[in-house]
Amino acid sequence: MKFAVIVFPGSNCDADCYHVVKEVIKKDVDYVWHQEKDFQAEYDCLILPGGFSYGDYLRTGSIARFSPIMNKVIEFAEAGGLVLGICNGFQILTEAGLLPGALVRNKELKFVCKDTFLRVENDQTPFTSDYTKGQVIKIPVAHGEGAYVCDENTLKKLKENNQIVFRYSTSLGEVTASSNFNGSTDNIAGIVNEKGNVLGMMPHPERCAEAVLGNDFGKYIFTSIVKWLEGGAPGGK
């Protein structure tokens, strides 16, 4: 089983994701440079890390989306491979059309770095089988443009297909306006594509995968992926 962390110029959570895969869940992982036109190895899961690819100039993720490697990422995703986009990675995935909607400036217009609570809305994805539906997890966010927006039709589809994976909530799991700190549509913090093999989320699971950093709620995204890749059906606990 092998992971790849895609590195764009300006990525800055690449080493963090790499660390968690290699040192916390102890799986093989490579860095893949954005200029590559092809993968040098077989990968089972691609991670698009957080950061400020191309300085996040123009729009977040807009320039990275055209990096040479992105054609392979799209191909990989369309063939059903697992792709996890975190923060800037989520933004790139929406720009690339692998996930619907877009991420715009936080409603208060400020960058926000803090712990948030998420309610797990879907534990049937390859990324969330180690959680249970309705579980509340504490995960940090750090972004200036993380408000998820989409049109009504898209929102309807997201709901119908159970594509909303995480919502911002209170510590008790109530999805309220006050827990929606960045002004996302319907408190959305993370979604999957229709097929369920591409997850984009604004919060940073790699920042809370070790107890020494506060908690390890985030680790279970990675262990879920491993479980799924090892053949356990999603949700099968």
């Binding site: 660390h19 191309y54 960058f111 940090p140 020494v212």
Partner: protein
């Protein structure tokens, strides 16, 4: 007068007649315009330290832990395992006063370059900020712009901003202070220096292209601010953190190759300072052809190229023959790397434009030969009166509970969450103690270790008595580190004062450095580098003297890190140190009585050292569950902070005959609030006895309220209410 200036172009550039004479002697002729420009920036206070060098000599700079002391781009201390910590602080006060966002952002960019130039990967940023009162719209504008600028740069480049401090005081209204500190991790073998050596080695400019920005920024930083400062706006540059991220990765990759002989960032005075400083340190010369420097704009003159302060550029001297390897690395990151000259052996900085020589100056003429001034020092006439202000007969507050709530809502004391939530303090996944504590702690992956980081200065103390204030600044920084379980290793300082040509300012400066030096000696924290920023004045009024102290400490076992929050109900709350009747210089005195007067709290360095050693031993032996320094706002505020950090209340009884205001709100030094289980009390006493550290029982951890009782006072408040005031104060003021 006007005519005079016209005949003397050097005067307009900030040089004196005497200095001009010296320049002629150094050159053996009249300087041309380019040369004069180069001298003027290098001999500005900002680059030359001509007014401060003799005083700075008093700092202790040596110790077994010091791998690199002052003189390089950053200092380095050893943390064992073949690893070192590079760290440095720098001011960006004047640019931030004119354009807060970009001024602060480029300040962060500059200090990051100083650190990775040493071969260290930056792992943390801190900042120390001072603004006028938040009731002024301009202060709010500067404050929000500066914070956004620091965030904009640090977040984008991906270095966590883990700590800092913010004070609000009217003396900073016209001249805010913005000090940025960067901390990096290096392997001893990668330690790089800003030295040009090896005749024939190429000199390369790497990174961003050179534009017309920031010409004379260094001189600008060496003047008082006035209305005309607005006219100097081009001295402000725009930062490009994305470019710097690429530059940083490329430089660190380059250093790993072992091809680098020397490397230096282009900060103040740009190509001029980096070239002459590298040559000067290497006892060599450098020859540069400005025609080869990649440019952003057309038609730039040699003068402009040599003085441009365009950001995100470095000067690199690699081994001869490795030019192509260097270029390949930079190309991968999409950056220019161009050979613009070579190292020579004649000690001359020679600038050509194609075939034409446009400047020829002994490199040391620009650096070491800058004149040094022993300024006159005189205690300010009115200070004795201020110090002698009678504080003994002041009326006591009518309602201690209300006073407590007012105090905890003072912007200087209140939570700085509004600030640090805008900083990405977690990127890099090393931040074990986040902002909001005594000191930040960053783990060192691959080891059991961590480093604790802080930056501190109470400038009101320094104003009231610079000698004592200087001692306290160092002591408090060390105490903050100790509260996390870290052993203090070394200091970087940023001295922000008024115009040193005024004897009163120079006196403050000398006295503060004297106090800091004594404390650094006693606490074994040598100074490894720093920065001096003078001329922080508006309309002739200086800011409070502000010598900020950045400090790094080592935690041997990250699992033993200690935090400030109470941990479990029933634990005993204990005070290490003594309460005294000291209200001088306190925030309470300023708030309630409108007085900034008296003597600052006393400090006994030997006792301070004993307290710190004692606390470290307690933490090392797992005897205590929390530790928190008592600082602004005094014991009551410290207790409240311990409660809020964990959401656990406290029942406290202060049995003491001091007047309540001093007991609750006085800022007596050398005090730490700890918590401990009843079982460990005996062992704790053994250790405090060993160090002769006074200890007294304050109460127990309990409930969801903070209750403090004593003779003649009673505070009983739900934590929710305290927290609302503490966290709400700054957001509330910023909402206007």
């Amino acid at each position: 007068m006007e005519n005079n200036t016209n005949n003397k172009p050097w005067v307009e550039l900030g040089l004196t007649d005497h200095e001009y004479q010296l320049i002629k002697e150094i050159l053996g002729r009249e300087p041309n315009q380019v040369e004069l420009g180069m001298f003027s920036v290098m001999w500005s206070e900002h680059c030359s330290y001509k007014n401060s060098r003799p005083v700075l000599k008093n700092f202790p700079t040596e110790g077994p832990q010091v791998l690199q002391g002052p003189g390089e781009n950053a200092g380095v201390v050893d943390i064992g395992d073949g690893l070192g910590i590079a760290f440095k602080v720098e001011s960006h006060n004047h640019p931030s006063a004119i354009e807060p966002y970009q001024g602060a952002a480029t300040g962060v960019g500059g200090i990051i370059r100083d650190v990775f130039t040493m071969g260290a990967r930056p792992i943390a940023l801190l900042n120390s900020l001072r603004f006028g009162s938040l009731t002024s719209a301009r202060s709010r504008y500067l404050f929000s712009g500066v914070v956004a600028g620091i965030a904009g740069y640090g977040n984008c480049i991906g270095i966590p901003t883990v700590g800092g401090e913010v004070y609000f005081h009217p003396s900073y209204e016209g001249n805010p202070l913005v000090n940025a500190m960067c901390v990096g991790l290096l392997e001893h073998k990668d330690l790089a220096k800003g030295v040009a050596s090896g005749v024939g080695n190429p000199v390369m400019v790497v990174g961003a292209k050179t534009g017309r920005d920031g010409i004379h920024g260094a001189s600008f930083a060496s003047e008082e601010l006035n209305e005309a400062s607005e006219e100097k706006r081009p001295a402000v540059q725009v930062g490009d953190p994305f470019m710097e991220k690429l530059l940083m990765e490329a430089c660190l990759e380059l250093i790993k190759t072992g091809y680098v002989v020397g490397m230096q960032d282009m900060g103040a005075a740009g190509l001029t300072s980096s070239a002459c400083e590298m040559a000067s340190r290497g006892n060599s010369g450098i020859e540069i052809d400005v025609a080869l420097v990649p440019r952003r704009e057309e038609g730039m003159t040699p003068y402009e190229i040599m003085l441009s302060e365009s950001q995100e550029r470095m000067l690199v001297v690699p081994q001869k023959g490795k030019e192509e390897e260097v270029k390949a690395i930079f190309k991968k990151w999409g950056l220019d790397a161009v050979v613009v000259g070579k190292v020579t052996d004649d000690g001359i900085l020679r600038i050509r434009e194609g075939e034409k020589i446009v400047a020829e100056i002994p490199a040391k003429g620009l650096t070491d030969m800058c004149p040094v001034y022993e300024r006159e020092a005189k205690m300010p006439a009115l200070l004795a009166e201020v110090q002698n202000c009678k504080l003994n007969d002041l009326p006591e507050p009518a309602n201690y509970q209300k006073t407590f709530l007012d105090l905890i809502s003072r912007p200087t004391i209140a939570s700085k969450e509004w600030v640090y939530e805008q900083y990405d303090y977690m990127v890099g996944i090393n931040t074990v103690i986040r902002p909001g504590a005594d000191a930040a702690v960053v783990r060192i992956k691959g080891t059991k270790k961590g480093v604790a980081l802080t930056i501190d200065c109470n400038s009101r103390y320094v104003y009231l008595n610079p000698y004592i204030g200087g001692k306290i600044a160092v002591s408090e920084a060390a105490r903050n580190l100790v509260c996390t379980g870290a052993k203090p290793l070394g200091v970087t300082d940023c001295i922000n004062f008024g115009n040193p040509e005024k004897p009163e300012i120079f006196w403050q400066f000398k006295e503060a450095v004297r106090g800091m030096s004594e404390a650094c000696k006693e606490l074994n924290t040598p100074v490894t580098g720093g920065n001096v920023s003078f001329y922080n004045e508006t309309k002739g009024e200086a800011v409070f003297p502000t010598p900020t102290v950045g400090m790094v400490g080592l935690i041997e076992d990250i699992d033993k890190v200690c935090t400030l929050g109470f941990k479990d109900e029933g634990d005993l709350i204990i005070l290490l140190g003594e309460n005294k009747d000291e209200l001088g210089g306190s925030e309470f005195l300023a708030m309630y009585h409108g007085l900034e007067a008296g003597m600052p709290p006393t400090i006994d360095l030997e006792k301070e050292k004993a307290l710190q050693d004692c606390t470290l031993e307690l933490i090392k032996n797992n005897l205590i569950k929390s530790a928190h320094d008592c600082s602004e706002g005094g014991l009551s505020i410290a207790l409240a902070e311990c409660c809020m950090a964990s959401g656990l209340g406290a029942q406290v009884t202060l049995e003491n005959d001091l007047r309540p205001s001093a007991l609750l709100f006085g800022e007596t030094q050398s005090r730490i609030v700890i918590s401990v289980t009843t079982e460990n009390l005996k062992k704790l006493k053994e250790i405090t006895n060993k160090y002769a550290v006074p200890m007294s029982k304050l109460g127990i951890v309990q409930g969801k309220s903070l209750v403090i009782n004593g003779k003649g006072f009673s505070i009983d408040l739900p934590l929710k209410e305290i927290e609302a005031r503490y966290k709400g104060a700054i957001p509330c003021l910023m909402r206007d």
